[in-house]
Amino acid sequence: MRAFAYERPTDLADALGLLADQGSDARLLAGGTDLIIRIRDGSIRPRTVVDIKGVAELERGIREVDGYLSIGARSVMTDLLRDERIRRDYAALAEAAAVVGAVQIRNRATLAGNICNASPAADTAPALLVYGARVVATGASGNRTIPIDAFFVRSGVTTLAPGELVSAVELPLPSGPRGAIHVRRTRRRGHDLASVTLACLIEPGGITRLSYGSVGPRPILAVDETGVLADRSAPDDAKTDRLAALLADAAPSPTSMRASPEYRLAMLRVLGLRAIRRAIERLA
């Protein structure tokens, strides 16, 4: 691996100062499960790696704040899986976190890092999208929140401004019961990158929030307010047209080696219907 300098600031101001000074020559290190791979393969060549795990203001914790469940920047996938509230109220996120790599990866990979990489195949992204999460971006001028749907731009690109970092990911607290699920397609049962990743959330009022990734440059959120998809008495056949409309933004890469566009699109429909069915069951 190429050499770089290592900084481990202990407070936020220092961390932000390093980002401000070095710009894109500095890279933040949280879990490192993506960063180190990319440094080793030469796709990024940071001059300085800024380890944020010593920053006092950045938490490794999950707590309720003003109507939101706030997941600190240093929280790893395993933390999400262990959290009773996430398992109970954000089942799709727990399920997504459970398939991010194998155990050793989940013990290191942070949720914040996962979204900052903005991989189109990131499993947590569709879950965050259906739950209407927001990202707390912290910069020199303080905090701002970005709706998760406005955060992703394309692979590796977010609306985070230069000099900003993600200090938390926040999920609105549930106002009532809902059924949600995360599903995916992979090439094997063991850990793998998803060729389709999809989350579905159904509310008692009949609103269906569907989000899907790995079928285009960024994960997509589509909402059905017609009640057609959430209709528990309607057969799958009655939902296919509406579902197709919701999935219309999918545009899988024709050059991916993991699956062809036809297969991804077909699986998107299959997974969509399955997820809706199971989400309805869970709502019950």
Binding site: G32, T33, E95, Q104
Partner: protein, 185 residues
Amino acid sequence: MTTRRIELTVNGRARAIDVLPHHTLLEVLRDDVGLTGTKECCLVGECGACTVLVDDVSVDSCLMLGVEADGASITTVEGLAMGERLHPLQQAFLDTGAAQCCFCIPGQLVSAAALLAGIPHPTRAEIEEGLAGNLCRCAGYEQIIEAVAAAATAGDQTDGASAPHAGLPAVGDRASTPDAELAPQ
């Protein structure tokens, strides 16, 4: 290149060493500490041959910098046995024939130790899940799974790498397809 002094505990022994910032924990353990039981294979966090415990949590040491381990307590495969007395997992791996070429086995053992620390009596599905990040190309998975189950039954997880982790919820239903629901409840 400037080194950085780190202090860490490796298999119970406190050490202070100078490491280069871009060297991974795997390199530090193998080259600087001289513990070569931890193996290098894929270097992308897929194979688990480099698995060690950092403060009782299993990680791929190829994806962690050595400098990040400053202040940490590391357990490698060399730290599982108590002197000449094998850890129950090590004995079980020998008893079930799970130890073939053994290049993956240090990682398997460390992952298994972490698994049993969190779930003392795992189901087969939990063992499969817990060891999915450790590839074995001799593909002795059946005997490895048996070994972990046997060590769990042997029960005496008092030495070595035990850690007081809450058990994780069962994830992954082997009877189902990969896209199937992963029930966290």
